[in-house]
Amino acid sequence: MPPAPAPPAAVPPASARPATAAIELRGLTKDFPVGLRGVKLRAVDNLTLDVPAGQVFGLLGPNGSGKSTTIKVILGLLEPTLGTCRVFGVPSGQVASRRNVGYLPESPYFYRYLSGEELVRFYARVCGVPRARLAARVGEVIEWVGLTGAAGRRVGTYSKGMLQRIGLAQALVHDPRLIILDEPTAGVDPVGSAEISAMILRLKAEGKTVLITSHLLAQIEDVCDRIAILDRGRLILAGTVAELVGRRDRQALLVETLPEAELAELRAWLAARGRTLEAVEQPRTRLDQLFLREIARSEGQREGRS
């Protein structure tokens, strides 16, 4: 990925802004009518949730848990049946609530007949980026997502990973404070997925709020500050990743491999203090990290030969 210039901030840094939650959901309920006989499908059920500004927030849940519906309500694409939804304090039904929001839909489809640059320029103009800054801003975000070389190509010829990147560029072009990424790594290979994770962390470093849904739980764990888990439209768990995943009453010690005699000594030493050695395991490298390391090494060798 090329070195990325930080997108120029159109809004004051997070520290200078009032401590408004980026998204506030209060008792949000969304029903869909099914047929004409009064049957309704409850997609989201009394959801109350805050997404704090400046954090990366993961919204998790199995298929049909109400993640996409919640996102659509936040974007004003669906009207809540009950409850409220505010984005930076503005009700999500108002057009103004979307002024500071960038959205990358799941499996994004864009106007295939436009080039990447034309597409980003179109959305930049829709979002009201001033003409004087248009060309520079479009160039910046395209470079930021690493698509400068392919910006002149028709979007219809892009790979899945490139589509996600151009999608991210269009979501960022008006320098929004909140970026919503719906399954940003769906169908993307591990390399592309890792790049997207890196981008999310850079956005966080720039003070942006990121709301992300993903099936890749490892990715969520790596990048998110907080998560919420939904099931059948209901919130079943919410909190920081550290709180939810970490075990405060247990510790893992990483040492060089011990011979069996020394291990027995260690057990005895612990037993003398009323402790038990619960597990002795061989630590493993995560498969995605192994994959990325090997791909990087292979590419390095190829470049060295050439």
């Binding site: 009064g38 309704k40 049946t81």
Partner: protein
């Protein structure tokens, strides 16, 4: 079953849309009516009564604005193909459909009547064995039958184009050439001559028909009236300007020829009527 207000929304929206459109329709009546009146006056095919005769024959499609012209044109071409095949019933019904869908073009009426009155008798006589085999009386009956249908077409055309000299002249031609009813032809040629735009031929034909049935005095009086109205270039009898050395224009030469020819005809009729020289016409 529980009441769910979500299900009422489409109904409410639908009712509102219908109400808003109806209100718009009423409000726009003052804009619509003058245009509709103008279209109505020009397009007699839009009358409900006319439609009923042809409904179910594709006329509905033919009514869709410009589709009408296209549908009529396509049917006309189909009629021409049927005409080439000498298929009299199919041609006749196809032509009828054309004039019902689009009665505006005169050529549909004129050409339909000509096909029916002139071409179809020939097809029928040939179909029955040819001119040598079919008895003269039968041939005459066929010609009369077809001429009557042709005349009916033109009569209907007059309801759409009441001032068309071309229609009257075509009717007169059928009486003259097919039914040999010179009296009826004379009346129709006169009517043609009285319509705006007629070139003069129908007027002369009126006199010719009167002559054919021995009504010389009427023919003579008619020609005198016509002669008085003819343009007379310098040097022709009756002209107010004397002949000059300047050559006549093409139009003046034609006018002079017509005037001279008509005056000669008048002289012949004076001779036929045995008018004394002092009562002869003096231009």
């Amino acid at each position: 079953m529980r009441f769910n207000p979500l299900n009422l929304r489409p109904l409410r929206t639908g009712l509102l849309v219908v109400a808003a459109l109806a209100a718009t329709g009423w409000a726009l009546d003052p804009l619509e009516q003058p245009a509709w009146a103008a279209v109505r006056a020009r397009e007699p095919a839009l009358k409900l009564g006319t439609l009923q005769a042809a409904l179910g024959q594709g006329v509905t499609v033919g009514l869709l604005g410009g589709f009408r012209a296209l549908a009529a044109d396509f049917l006309w071409v189909k009629g021409e193909v049927l005409w080439e095949d000498h298929d009299a019933p199919a041609t006749q019904s196809c032509l009828k459909l054309v004039t019902t869908i689009d009665p505006r073009p005169l050529y549909f009426w004129i050409n339909s009547s000509k096909m029916v009155a002139y071409d179809m008798p020939d097809w029928r006589i040939r179909a029955e064995g040819g001119y040598e085999v079919v008895p003269k009386r039968r041939q005459q009956a066929i010609v009369l039958e077809q001429a009557t249908v042709g005349l009916e077409i033109l009569q209907e055309a007059l309801t759409y184009h009441p001032n068309s000299w071309f229609l009257y002249e075509t009717m007169a031609n059928i009486h003259w050439q097919q039914t040999k009813d010179f009296a009826a032809a004379a009346v129709l040629y006169k009517l043609a001559a009285e319509q705006p735009g007629e070139g003069g031929w129908a007027g002369r034909q009126h006199a010719r028909m009167l002559q054919n049935i021995g009504r010389y005095q009427e023919a003579y009086d008619w020609l005198l009236q016509r002669y008085a109205k003819l343009p007379k270039p310098p040097g022709t009898p009756g002209s107010k300007e004397p002949a000059t050395n300047q050559p006549l224009t093409v139009q003046q030469t034609t006018d002079a020829g017509e005037a001279t020819e008509m005056l000669e005809w008048i002289r012949k009729l004076e001779h036929t009527l045995n008018l004394p020289a002092e009562r002869a016409y003096q231009p």
